[in-house]
Symmetry: C2
Subunit: 168 residues, 2 copies
């Protein structure tokens, strides 16, 4: 297989910016702000943001939905020349979908100490017993992703506190 053309640092930041915009779309509708985009041959072919509460579908994580869309665009379950950019470290489900789709590269922002499966709790993407290992780059635009999540949960806690106070 032909090697992937390397991305410039500016391109990586640009794609992660688009993932962060997706995260913002999630935030706007009260979802935990997590966004993902998939790049293929210099073009974004799929974008998605966390929709779990809106759709009430346990699998509607940004990465999994982006992978589904990318397969549809490409017309193949093999995304061997594609790159995923996601604002938060993938969970086991999404890490598994990355393996299953043979994704070439994964860039992520913040680590997820509660469910991260690309280094935090387990590292499925580096486990050579599975039949594919993408190249993984962590900490891309990490600060922005973390800040967005921190602000979201702070707002949620403040709302809960206000509700409790109102009930007294």
């Amino acid at each position: 297989m032909e090697a992937l053309a390397p991305l410039t640092s500016a391109q990586k930041k640009e794609y992660m910016q688009q993932a962060l915009q997706q995260a913002q779309l999630a935030e706007n509708i009260g979802e935990v702000p997590i966004g993902a985009v998939i790049e293929l041959d210099g073009r974004i072919i799929a974008t998605a943001h966390n929709l779990r509460e809106t759709s009430q579908d346990a699998t509607d994580h940004a990465e999994l939905m982006a992978i589904k869309k990318a397969c549809q665009v490409v017309g193949s379950w093999r995304l061997e020349r594609a790159r995923l950019f996601v604002t938060l470290e993938p969970c086991p489900m999404c890490a598994g979908a990355i393996i299953n789709s043979r994704m070439a590269e994964v860039y992520y922002g913040a680590m997820d100490p509660k469910a991260g499966a690309a280094g935090s709790l387990v590292n499925l993407l580096a486990d050579t017993r599975f039949n594919h290992q993408p190249r993984v780059y962590a900490h891309l635009n990490e600060g922005e992703s973390k800040q967005m999540l921190r602000d979201f949960f702070r707002k949620i806690r403040a709302q809960q506190k206000a509700r409790k106070k109102a009930q007294k």
Copy 2:
């Protein structure tokens, strides 16, 4: 939460038979024979079989599709009182979807030494660092599931051999 009513041995076998029938549907269309059903309160609320080649969607595994359907039926991403029956040990993606949906119990047939994430390569479902652990029962109707997979791959190999011979 109210405890789940225990299943009789006959019920477990019956639900796994339905999962095996789903696997047969996959086989009928040339897909690797893997099937799944989800039971809730004594009723099958979702059925699915592997469709990866047909749909060219890397995420179209039996379990993940069944979980998506069950969330839709229940109208919630929480499947806390549901049971999944699947003919093959779940891969990391499907094990992750099981955790994400808070599935109460998982019954599976054959182990998967190449991608199994419920005991074979990793055991995500027993890892208490994740925020949910279903009860897991392996080896249910294991022989039938194994035989179906073995026959399928034998047929595939025979077809490949015949093709190569025809090309000579």
